[in-house]
């Protein structure tokens, strides 16, 4: 048996032959493109043949001195912080709720999970109809209950657009937090609660002393993962507002897209993309560090 195992693990040719296609694909689709972005960021590329003169760090200088970059950075911060914090609080609340036993739990879970499964374009269409100034149900409902007396411009006013987009983002992505947290809640040993009950702990005390400490590592990891994903989310904002009105919802990924495919300034777009990736890299590093630490603890 041992000999076969050594033979199994040592078959170099087969090992490399089976892995090769994956390596080739990932190198061509992710590795080379990432390097290309750095080259592009040093060029002054417009439309046409997709090449242009080298300009050194000019595009980075432009980005770091332009107002639009900092506006986008600030918008990204608001978008990420707003979305993730609400998603996590809501996610924990609903995970606690779904962790209880009740009659229609399967159905409730399916409905609460649904937004995460629905294609983004569907979510956007539905919400844009609901947010519509005149025929939208949200304005109609708020007017009927007397909370407002004239329709709000949910997506077309600079002050409200970001709030509206965050609302849709939260609705679409909070189920991820629910699923992640539900998984860990169900892993808490029930004996701990029974022991606490015997000792006379109230349910509030049980939550603070048992549930929360147990859930915290997964909670933080999920929050970080959501931060990374929310950070480079593109289509939900693009489809809701296109980055507008003016630049009220232009986050960094939107800015990259608009620079490249509306202004046709590929060099500048690449520079912004790299700066975005740099910030994201810090978050990714943090994520892998936390994963390592969690694995080490196990």
């Amino acid at each position: 048996m041992l000999e076969t195992r050594a033979a199994l693990e040592g078959d170099r040719t087969l090992a490399y032959a089976t892995l090769a296609p994956s390596v080739v694909f990932l190198v061509l689709l992710a590795g080379v493109p990432t390097i290309t972005v750095f080259v592009t960021a040093m060029q002054d590329i417009g439309m046409g043949d997709m090449s242009g003169p080298y300009v050194g760090f000019e595009n980075f200088v432009w980005a770091l001195t332009s107002e639009s970059f900092y506006t986008a950075l600030w918008n990204t911060f608001i978008w990420v912080f707003g979305s993730v914090s609400i998603e996590m609080v809501l996610g924990l609340g609903l995970a606690l709720l779904l962790n209880k036993t009740f009659a229609v739990r399967g159905i409730a879970r399916a409905v609460i999970l649904a937004p995460y499964l629905v294609p983004t374009v569907v979510a956007v269409l539905t919400w844009r109809y609901m947010f519509h100034d005149i025929v939208g149900i949200i304005n109609a409902g708020l007017i009927a209950t007397g909370l407002i007396d004239k329709p709000l411009l949910w997506l077309n006013s600079e002050s409200l657009a970001m709030t509206s987009v965050i609302l849709v983002g939260v609705w679409k992505f909070f189920p991820f937090a629910v699923i992640a947290l539900l998984g860990i809640l169900q892993a808490i040993p029930q004996e701990q609660y029974e022991a606490a009950k015997i000792d006379g702990a109230s349910s509030m005390q049980q939550f603070w002393r048992i549930t929360l400490p147990y859930v915290m590592p997964v909670f933080l990891l999920t929050a970080l993962l959501r931060t990374i994903w929310t950070f480079h989310k593109f289509e939900i904002i693009y489809l809701m507002t296109g980055g507008g009105p003016l630049d009220a919802t232009t986050t960094l990924p939107i800015l990259v897209y608009l620079k490249a495919f509306t202004d046709f300034e590929f060099g500048r777009a690449a520079a912004v993309a790299i700066l975005t990736f740099g910030i994201l890299g810090i978050l990714l590093g943090l994520y892998f560090m936390l994963i390592k630490r969690a694995e080490a603890r196990q």
Binding site: E9, Y16, S22, F102, V121, W127, F261
Partner: protein, 300 residues
């Protein structure tokens, strides 16, 4: 001795005396629970409920202020218009080709790669798996710029092939990571036995390992399909002609043109795009919840 017996007896009686109080308390907390569940489900579920409901409303009702709640007249007109007046069927077919192609490609290539990562020990294996995970986390907007440049240079702009290949940039790492863990769960000894019985290595893989990993492979396929089915940015950047549009791109270009495309038609389209996703969910429901909660890193 007697005092001990007594204290046991009174301890047994105490809960019975509190029984009624506890019962009322219990009932109140149950009602609270159901109230919370009802609120959560109706708030979260409302947009989708509204989408389905409004897709059956005739034009007049869709633009009524204040809007009607239930359709006063149920109609399939929006669905009919979608098929008669628009290229919806073309978009649907394109999406099937792109998502199907990307899924097949990542299952075959990723399956082989995952088998290698799971069964062999060689230099650089950990580095490669981590690199694959980083690929999965790369922002789409970063990748789309160089990919667009290549696509234009290779003359692949506005083709479905470009979309299929670009989509595997994200579905392949997903397939690698998931399938590696599925293969890891299958004991190597099973393959060894098959080989002692005279199978070659590839036969052992084909006859033993793959059939055992099939449920996992199916759910990876569903994830990959779903990812490519929803993909928007690559489609937006690579596609220029009407006949190569995928569903998300097709529907997205109708938004904001409500003088041509009515909300009813858009919502009907949204319902139809969602149906395959719902079917897939039903197919892999259990796997999905387990997979998402076990490895957050591989979720989206």
């Amino acid at each position: 001795m007697t005092s001990a017996t007594l204290s046991v007896a009174s301890a047994a009686e105490r809960p019975r005396r509190n029984y009624e109080m506890a019962d009322v308390h219990h009932l109140a907390s149950r009602m609270m629970l159901y109230l919370l569940v009802f609120t959560a489900v109706s708030v979260v579920g409302f947009p989708l409920f509204w989408m389905v409901l409004c897709s059956f409303k005739p034009g007049g009702e869709l633009y009524a202020t204040p809007p009607t709640f239930l359709p006063q007249e149920w109609t399939l007109q929006n669905y009919r218009d979608l098929f008669v007046q628009t290229n919806f069927p073309t978009y649907f077919a394109n999406s099937l080709i792109v998502a199907g192609g990307a899924t097949l490609l990542s299952l075959v290539i990723g399956g082989l790669g995952a088998y290698s990562l799971s069964r062999f020990k060689f230099f650089g294996i950990a580095a490669f798996s981590n690199a694959a995970l980083v690929c999965y986390m790369l922002p789409e907007v970063l990748i789309v710029l160089p990919l667009y440049i290549y696509v234009v240079k290779l003359g692949l702009a506005d083709t479905l092939i470009a979309l299929i290949i670009a989509n595997t940039a994200f579905t392949l790492p997903l397939a690698l990571w998931f399938m590696r863990s599925y293969f890891n769960a299958i004991p190597v000894s099973l393959e060894e036995s098959a080989m002692i019985d005279g199978c070659t290595r590839l036969q052992a893989m084909y006859r033993v390992t793959i059939p055992l990993a099939l449920p996992g492979i199916v759910s990876v396929g569903v994830f990959a399909f779903n990812h490519a089915w929803n993909e928007f940015l690559f489609a937006l950047v690579f596609t220029s002609s009407e006949r190569n549009k995928t569903l998300p791109l097709g529907l997205a270009t109708w938004i904001g043109q409500d003088n041509i495309y009515s909300w009813g038609m858009l919502l009907a389209g949204a319902v139809l795009v969602t149906i395959p996703v719902v079917l897939f969910y039903l197919l892999v429901q259990r796997k999905l919840v387990v997979g998402l909660s076990e490895g957050g890193a591989k979720g989206e």
